[in-house]
Amino acid sequence: MNYKLLFTRSILLLQICLSVLYFSTTNSFAHQNTLEKVKSTGVLIWGFDAEGGAPYVFHDPKHPSKLVGFEVELVAAIARELGVKVQHFQNAWDSILLSLQRGDFDIALNGIEITPDKEPSVLFTRPYYVYAEQIVVRASDNRINRPEDLRGKKVGTLYNTVAKRMLEEMGEITVNIYSGQVEPFKDLSLSRIDAVFVDLPIASYYAKPNPQLRLVGKPAGEGYYGIAVRKEDTALAEELNKIIEKLLRTGELQKIYSRWGLWNTAQEKLFLHEEPLQKYTENLPSVSEKVSPSVTKFLPTLLKGALVTVGISILSMMLAVGLGLILAITRLYGNTWLQRISTAYIEIYRGTPLLIQLYILYYGLPNIGITLSAFAAAILGLGMNYAAYEAEIYRAGIQSIPKGQTEAALSLGMSKRLALKRIILPQALRITIPPMTNDFIALFKDSSLVSVIAMVELTKSYSILASASMNFFKLGIITALLYFGMSYPLSLYARKLEKKLRLYDRNP
C-alpha cells in the first residue's frame, strides 16, 4: 500500500502544477551560448530526477524539501568552480535528454551512462563516476558465477536501476522487480529467486552479514556516468571537463564519494579519461526530436499492471466463490462440527487484517516447509479472505428463498444436494449478484495489497512509473480510470445478468 505516499505526492504535485501555471516561463534562449548565459546570469540550471534517485539525487528523508546525494554535492562543487549558483530542475528521468535539448536546463547530470546511442543527440563530458553491479546468490548455490550464468534464471533487482536495465538487456532472464531493498534478499534465501543483481553497496550491506548468501563474481557492467550538455555547447563541456579534472586532482571528488560510501578502486579509472569518451561534433542538433514526453508511452506498462490486477482478481474471486459456497453450505446444512468450523473460519478471516493473512501465507508458511510463489500466495490470500465474505452473502441469499421451494423439490424425489443446486442456488444467485459485484469491485482495489509480496499489479506499476517520471497526477488519473475501467464493465455485466435472472413477481 504505497497509496498514502503516492497520493500525498500527487496532491503536492497537483499544487505544484497549478503554481507552475502561474509562474511558468518558457526558456526561449535555449540556443544561445550556454556557458556565456550561465556566467552572465550567475545561475547553472541542473536537470535531474530526484525520485528513486538515492544515492544520486534524492529528497532528504528528514527534510523532504531538501535535496541530497553525491550528485548534489558534485553539482555544488562544479557551480562553485564556475562561480555561479545552482538552480534545480526536476525532470522525468526517461525524458531528461529531450528536455535538455529543448532548453529546459543547462546540464543533465543524473547517472546518465555514456553510451554510443546517445551520441547523436547530446554531448558528454569526461566521466565523473564508474558504476558497477553485483550478483548475490545463496551460499549453497554454485550454478551462478558470472552475469552470463543468470540466463534462464529468476533474478531479483530494484526498480529504476542500472542493474534492472542490464538484466532486461541481457534477455532470457525472469526479472523480479522489488521496491523494497529487504525483500529480494528474503526471497533469495527462500529460493523464490535464484539471484539478486543490484548496486554493489546494497549487495554488501544486505548479503555480507547473512551467512546464507554470498556475493559472486566481480562487480559487473562497469560503465561511466557523464554530464550531458546540448551538442552545440562545446565550450561548456570543455569548461566542465576542466572542473572535473580539478576536482579529481584535489581529491574533492574522492571526498564526496567517500562520504557516500561510493569510493572504490574502480574510480581510479577516472584519471585515465582525460578526454571525453565521445568526440565533439559540430553538427547542430536536429530540432525534429523535440517531442514533449507523452503519458501514452506509459500506457503499455500500466495496462500490463492492470492485466495482472485483473488476473489476480478473477482467479482469487473464483476461489472465493467456490470456497465461499462450500462455507455457506456447511454453515447452513453441515453437522454441528462443520458448522462450527465454517463459522470460525468466517469470523477469523473477516475479523483480521488481510495483510497479516498475506504475510503469514508468504513469509510464514516457508517456516513449515511450504514455499508458495508470489502469485499463488496472492491468489490464495485474497481468495481465502474474500471467501469468508462471500460465504455470508450466499447464506443470506439461500435463506431468502421460501422453504416451499425446497419442499417441492424434495417431494419430487430430489436429494437435498440436487435441490440446492438446481432450485435454491439459481434463485438465490439473483439476490447475491449485487453484493457479489460490490465485493468483486472492492477486490480490484484490495488486490493492490499483494504488491507487498513482489507482485507488480496496477497500483505498483503506477507507483513505479510515477516515481520514474514524476507524473503523479496525470498517471494517478489514468490509474483511477483504469480501475474504473475494470469495475464498470463488471457492473454492466452484473446488471444484465440480474435482468436475465429476473423473477417476475419480485419488486421492481
Partner: protein, 251 residues
C-alpha cells in the same frame, strides 16, 4: 400401502395429533375432509416426511419413518427412507410451489431428467402429453408468474405426475380450479386410480370427495372422527359434528 400408526405431533407444545391411526390400501383413493386447521395438510406432509413428528411411525411401501421420540428413530436411516418414500410418492401443494426461475416445461422435466435419468427428449414428450391432459400445452414456455392461479395449480399436478409416482398426495387440488377443470382433474385422477395409483386428497369440495374417493376420513382438531365410504359418510353420517359440518353440502 401407507400405514399410520399411533401418530403424535405437536407444534410449539400445542398438540395436534394425539395417537392417530390410519391405513391406506394400495389403489384406494382417500379424501381427507374437515374444518380448516384440523390437520389435513399436516397429515399429508407427515406422510411425505416434510414434517417430523414426535411419536408413532408411518410406513410407506414398507419403508418406516419413526417419530423423533421413538426408540427406533435413527437419523442416518431416515435419510435413505425419505429418499425411497419420495421417489414413490408425489405431492401437490396448496400453494403450488412452482419453480419461478423455470418455464412450465422445465418445471415438469426437471425432476424426471435429473432424478430418474430420463432423456431430455423423452421427458419433454411426456411433459407435453401431461400438459395436454391439463389443457395447458400452449403455456409450455411461459413462466409460472405469467399464469393464472388455476393454470399454476394444473402445472403443479402435471409436474408431480411426471415422476410417475405410485402414490399421490394432493392438498386441495381443486381449490383454484373452475368446475370444468375439476371434471378434468377428476378424470385424470380416475385414470391414475385405474392404473393402480394410491391417492390421498385433502379437500373442501364435498362433491368432489364423494365423486372420486373410495374412503373418506373426517378430521377435527387432529382426530379422526369418522372413516368410511363416501356413501356412509355423506349420506349417513353417524357423528353430530360431522352432520353439522356437512349440512351445507347436504342442502
Amino acid at each position: 400401502m401407507i400405514e399410520i400408526h399411533n401418530l403424535s405431533k405437536q407444534y410449539d407444545n400445542q398438540p395436534l395429533f394425539k395417537g392417530l391411526h390410519l391405513n391406506i390400501a394400495k389403489g384406494s383413493v382417500v379424501t381427507l375432509i374437515g374444518p380448516s386447521g384440523s390437520g389435513k395438510s399436516t397429515l399429508l406432509r407427515c406422510m411425505n416426511g416434510l414434517e417430523s413428528f414426535q411419536e408413532g411411525h408411518i410406513s410407506v411401501n414398507g419403508q418406516k419413518l419413526y417419530g423423533i421420540h421413538e426408540q427406533n428413530y435413527n437419523k442416518a436411516q431416515v435419510h435413505l427412507t425419505l429418499k425411497n418414500i419420495r421417489r414413490k410418492v408425489g405431492m401437490v401443494f396448496q400453494q403450488f410451489n412452482l419453480f419461478p426461475h423455470m418455464t412450465v416445461l422445465h418445471n415438469i422435466i426437471e425432476s424426471p431428467t435429473h432424478v430418474l435419468g430420463i432423456s431430455q427428449a423423452e421427458a419433454e414428450s411426456n411433459a407435453i402429453s401431461l400438459l395436454q391432459k391439463v389443457h395447458l400445452e400452449e403455456k409450455a414456455h411461459s413462466y409460472p408468474d405469467q399464469l393464472s392461479g388455476g393454470e399454476q395449480q394444473r402445472v403443479a399436478i402435471a409436474r408431480s405426475l411426471a415422476m410417475k409416482p405410485e402414490a399421490m398426495l394432493f392438498d386441495e387440488p381443486t381449490s383454484s380450479l373452475d368446475p370444468e377443470m375439476i371434471e378434468e382433474v377428476l378424470a385424470v385422477i380416475k385414470d391414475l386410480v385405474s392404473e393402480g395409483m394410491t391417492t390421498v386428497i385433502a379437500t373442501h369440495e364435498m362433491s368432489f370427495a364423494s365423486d372420486v374417493s373410495t374412503d373418506v376420513v373426517f378430521l377435527e382438531r387432529g382426530e379422526i372422527l369418522e372413516h368410511g365410504s363416501p356413501k356412509d359418510i355423506f349420506y349417513n353420517p353417524k357423528n353430530d359434528r360431522m352432520r353439522a359440518f356437512l349440512s351445507r353440502f347436504m342442502k
